[in-house]
Amino acid sequence: MTYRDYMDRQCVDEETHARLLALEGRKRRRPYGKAAVAAALCCVIGLGVYGLGAAGTREHPADLPDSFGIGEESIYLYRPDLSELPKLTFTKGDNGATAALDIAPPKGWFVLEPSMETFAAVLGQRELLHFEGEDVCRYYDVSAEVIYGGDGTVWIASLTGRDRETGYDVFHVELSPDGLPPACMPFNGDESCTVWGTPVRAGMYRLKGNEYGGRTVTEYVATFVREGEETVGARINVTMADAAAGEELMTRIVSQLLRPEHVLMLAPLAPAEIPEWRSEQLTEENAARAEEGFGAYLPTALPEGFRFSGAWRELGQDRDYLSMEWEWGEYFCFVTVNRLPEDPVPVEIDNPASWDLHLYNSVDKPNPPEEYWDSVACPVFRAEDVTPEVIEKRLYAYPKDKKSRAEFCVLFPDGVQVRWYGCGTVEEIWTALCSIPAFANQV
């Protein structure tokens, strides 16, 4: 068989022919045209796992079919050549971070994971998420997460693409309303360029380390704030071993988010409901002890000399706890009662290697095995396993400390977990535990 014979057998199938035939009959989307900036979100986009509301409807710039299945939109995707997209200029550096900040989500925060179809609506796309025609879901495991404040506004919406073969994240897009997304490692790129009329700061860094599997990778970072009917700030990271591929992916992402005829808005992410929440400092000990559901797990006897210094009540998505603190000079006792501990795994009391601090707690002793790092740091004991002998093996003191301290958790049969992190002798800590009504009832 010759090459010609083989190729003569290769033909477009009927389904593809039908799709190609349909191309000419539609008003084609013109990526460089003067189409309206706003896009209409159709009812199909309004449907989602979280029952999104109809806020933020716009005229969609593309004249697409009224409905089609997942993946079918790809036949209408126009994928411009890289040469047709604005070129980014990057600051070159060795390290992307210039400072580290502590950031905390707003009060009442909660997290939702929108579907890809819902996130595509943020870009004004129907169901299929793509960046300038590049269907990233085809090549990566893509996931989305939105952190909201207690009032239901988006704090940070993020999209992450992970390489299926290496397991490393390749791209990470963060979006926030009204300004750049908060970051614990802010990027201060010096170079800036203008993409579709919006200033963009961009940088590139060559990195190598264990976190990249020993590979040398190039990380691209870009930030901008797009003004418009909605002001949306973005921070984008792309990390790839192939620098050219990383630059192209970054270029497509930035162009998609900034091109005027493309949509970028966070309204489609509005949550259907907001979880009940409380985030409150309690200044009166009696008020803290009166919090419903917590009194039975709070100690009534603290080591001598300690006085109440504050309490915090936190209620929200997957969190429901009360923390109390007592102080005596520089010494402290923290007790946290957690009604929704995250997958607590109690240690086996017969396996002291997993919780006995004295096996490791000096320079002449080995470090705990990696599998026991967390449990040695703060073990979770079943309530019935806690004895004065166990407390003694959790006790430690820093040089010049007048008081020893211990840290551990007690898990009750009903799933409530009490964390003790405080100072005292074995007897004082044991007395404090025994003053907890729920603990006393099972001893």
Binding site: T2, T16, R19, L82, A244
Partner: protein
């Protein structure tokens, strides 16, 4: 035929004339049926957008193939693209003769740009000068590619016109 006038274009006739040629070129370069279909669609969308003024069907074919080939090259530059060896799978059923099978597999192992030149010359019948114009390469480069291909793939290219 779009001759630059405002007469309606017979889209269906254009597809019948060109879609298989475009698909075969894309398949030869990309080695993946799904991507080849996408590349054909991209090229046709560009045609609809640009509506180039073309003299005749021969020019139309050349324009569409050039856009298809360049679109494939653009796709190949995206390393996150996962190349699936569907071409080999297709070859297993299409080439029961062992010798031909081996050479077809060897074809698939050639660089993408070599396969583009091979296809445009041995299947579409373009000269090296025409291929150079379509791909943006120097004519000498195209000749080298074809010469290497003939050395390796003598059996399956046998009987085709020499350069």
């Amino acid at each position: 035929m779009n001759d630059g006038s405002r007469r309606p274009m017979d889209w269906e006739a254009l597809l019948f004339r060109n879609e298989n040629h475009m698909y075969r070129a894309a398949l030869a370069i990309l080695g993946n049926r799904e991507e080849a279909r996408d590349a054909v669609q991209d090229a046709l969308l560009k045609y609809l957008e640009k509506r180039p003024a073309l003299k005749d069907e021969e020019h139309e074919r050349a324009w569409l193939l050039r856009v298809t080939v360049n679109g494939c090259k653009s796709r190949l530059r995206s390393p996150w693209r996962k190349r699936r060896v569907e071409l080999c799978a297709a070859l297993e059923t299409a080439a029961p003769e062992e010798a031909d099978h081996e050479e077809l597999l060897a074809l698939e192992a050639l660089p993408d740009q070599d396969r583009a030149a091979i296809h445009l010359h041995y299947y579409e019948g373009y000269t090296t000068a025409e291929i150079a114009a379509m791909t943006g390469e120097a004519e000498g480069t195209v000749r080298s590619r074809l010469h290497r291909a003939r050395q390796k793939l003598r059996r399956i290219l046998e009987g085709e016109d020499a350069i």
